[in-house]
């Protein structure tokens, strides 16, 4: 069944919050972002919210998104801030490689050995959180306890998703060339 869409609110510069009526996701609210204004990739183009858990009105939703955005930006370094402002994604360095945050369920992981994987990890529960809060949650785990992040994230290389832990390459310390003879 194709759901009917009801406009809930217009958000300047972001898009339109619509409520899905009927179908599998009846009651969910989705932020519809016009293609020209969107830098989202992957399957999710805006926040999906479970029925009854999102702020009840558009103004509260906008306030929540703004507050989450302010918190996330305050945690970013200058390079991450620039990327987030321009492209709505940013990279997080870990001892095992870099992870790109910005598209739900589709986090690019560039391992130290050059291999690239796609990861999926989310706060539990996540559906009531503004998107920026999801990134704040994942950013802190990646920066402070990356081992825990990689232990639970699911991943794919190619088309098949696999349960975590994500295969990571151990960090090899740089050994001084003490054995080199002059």
């Amino acid at each position: 069944m194709i759901p009917r869409l009801e406009v809930v609110d217009e958000i300047d510069g972001r898009g339109t919050v619509v409520s899905l009526v009927g179908g599998t996701y009846d009651g969910y609210e989705v932020l519809h972002i016009p293609r020209r204004a969107s830098s989202w990739r992957g399957s999710r183009r805006g926040p999906l919210r479970g029925p009854g858990r999102a702020p009840a009105d558009g103004a509260a939703l906008v306030a929540a998104m703004g507050r989450a955005e302010e918190l996330l930006v305050s945690l970013l370094d200058p390079g991450q801030k620039r990327d987030w402002t321009r492209h709505r994604h940013f990279w997080v360095s870990t001892p095992y490689g870099e992870v790109e945050l910005g598209t739900v369920s589709n986090l690019t992981f560039r391992r130290n050995d050059g291999r690239s994987l796609v990861l999926c990890a989310l706060p539990e529960p996540w559906s009531d959180l503004p998107d920026a809060d999801i990134w704040t949650n994942l950013l802190l785990k990646l920066r402070v306890s990356p081992e825990e992040f990689f232990a639970v994230a699911n991943y794919r290389e190619g088309s098949t998703w696999r349960r975590g832990p994500v295969p990571v390459v151990p960090v090899v310390p740089v050994v001084p060339a003490s054995g080199v003879r002059a």
């Binding site: 706060p123 802190l140 785990k141 639970v152």
Partner: protein
């Protein structure tokens, strides 16, 4: 003055304490314990407004902390 910020559907909910006011410190400590033990949320402390590079995961309430962010456990999606 310190603040606990709990990520939620409103962005976050903030609860402040004043280190010179034992009542607010006690209330913040109780909240900290409940969020961590009962709600299984994860606390990170950082100097106010500092980037994630300076954040540390903590397991006890520190009244000298400037800001404590409570996030959720993560799971494979």
């Amino acid at each position: 003055m310190g603040t606990i910020r709990i990520l939620d559907s409103s962005g976050d909910t903030a609860v402040a304490w004043d280190i010179t006011d034992t009542e607010t410190v006690r209330a913040a400590e109780e909240l900290f314990r409940r969020l961590m033990v009962t709600d299984k949320k994860i606390p990170f402390a950082r100097p106010l407004g500092a980037s994630s590079d300076t954040a540390v995961q903590i397991d006890e309430f520190d009244p000298r902390a400037e800001e404590i962010l409570f996030v959720r456990p993560i799971a494979g999606g």
